[in-house]
């Protein structure tokens, strides 16, 4: 059975990782605007994810402007896949439990 990932139970971290899951590389600015975080808040989350080897951070220059790109590592990708499976199992179980429960005759 798929296991939930404690790191991805945080909604902000899950949003960042989900965004990166569909991309090979994403610009820091794009991730920041998409998940609606400040630079420092995203930087903090990216450091946490990077320390746990979920995310790879690359810095570089485009012209004279410094840029940062984020990439979901293979480990991050497989942990997210397992986390999604666990979430689906929870949602699916609730759905099947709800379907099996007999209807209350007093409810119109």
């Amino acid at each position: 059975m798929a296991k939930l990932d404690p790191l991805l139970l945080d909604p902000t971290r899950l949003a960042i990782v989900s965004l990166l899951a569909a991309a090979e590389w994403a610009e820091f600015g794009f991730v920041r605007d998409s998940v609606q975080l400040s630079d420092s808040a995203l930087s903090k989350q990216a450091t946490t994810l990077s320390k746990n080897e979920y995310v790879e951070v690359r810095k570089g220059y485009v012209g004279k402007r410094p840029r940062t790109w984020l990439n979901l590592t293979d480990a991050g990708r497989s942990n997210l896949a397992e986390h999604i499976s666990a979430l689906q199992a929870i949602a699916e179980k609730a759905r099947s439990d709800g379907a099996q429960q007999p209807r209350d005759p007093s409810v119109p």
Partner: protein, 156 residues
């Protein structure tokens, strides 16, 4: 570790889906790339047909354009320069053989149709028709097909 409630799990799954959708939309957002590519293909076929003597250097010009496009679409710096904040690849959204074939099927189908029309009606400047068709395909249909394929890949 507290297990999420079914509502929380459903909300988290929605977050995952929305995140992927944002990246997919962003990957096909820069419309000017498609327009420039379509025009380049059309102008190449037009020039090649009207000035056959210039064929070799026109081919070099097209190859240089393709090289710039590949660098722009496949590298971080290049992607940033052309205004695409994300790079989507086969690694992030793997494409099955079926969808790989589907990607080239419209091009092949249209190519065969034009070849039939050009040969049956014995139309001159057949190359220009191919170029126009390829250009129209790249400008109008490619972004839509790309969007559909990426969404499909995400579901697979």
């Amino acid at each position: 570790m507290n297990e999420p409630t079914p509502e929380e799990a459903a909300a988290a799954l929605r977050t995952v889906h929305e995140g992927k959708e944002q990246v997919i939309k962003s990957a096909v957002e820069s419309r000017w790339i498609w327009i420039v590519s379509g025009l380049a293909v059309f102008l190449y076929s037009l020039a090649n047909d009207l000035f056959p003597a210039a064929g070799p250097w026109l081919t070099w010009l097209l190859l240089a354009f393709l090289l710039v496009a590949v660098v722009g679409l496949r590298t971080r710096v290049g992607s940033t320069l052309i205004g695409r904040p994300v790079i989507v690849s086969g690694r992030s959204l793997p494409l099955s053989v079926k969808w790989r074939l589907l990607r080239i099927a419209p091009v092949l189908g249209l190519g065969i149709a034009v070849a039939l029309v050009v040969s049956l009606l014995q139309l001159p400047h057949g190359g220009i028709y191919y170029g126009a068709l390829a250009g129209i395909y790249i400008i109008f249909l490619s972004p839509r097909l790309q969007l559909r394929l990426l969404r499909r890949q995400d579901r697979d």
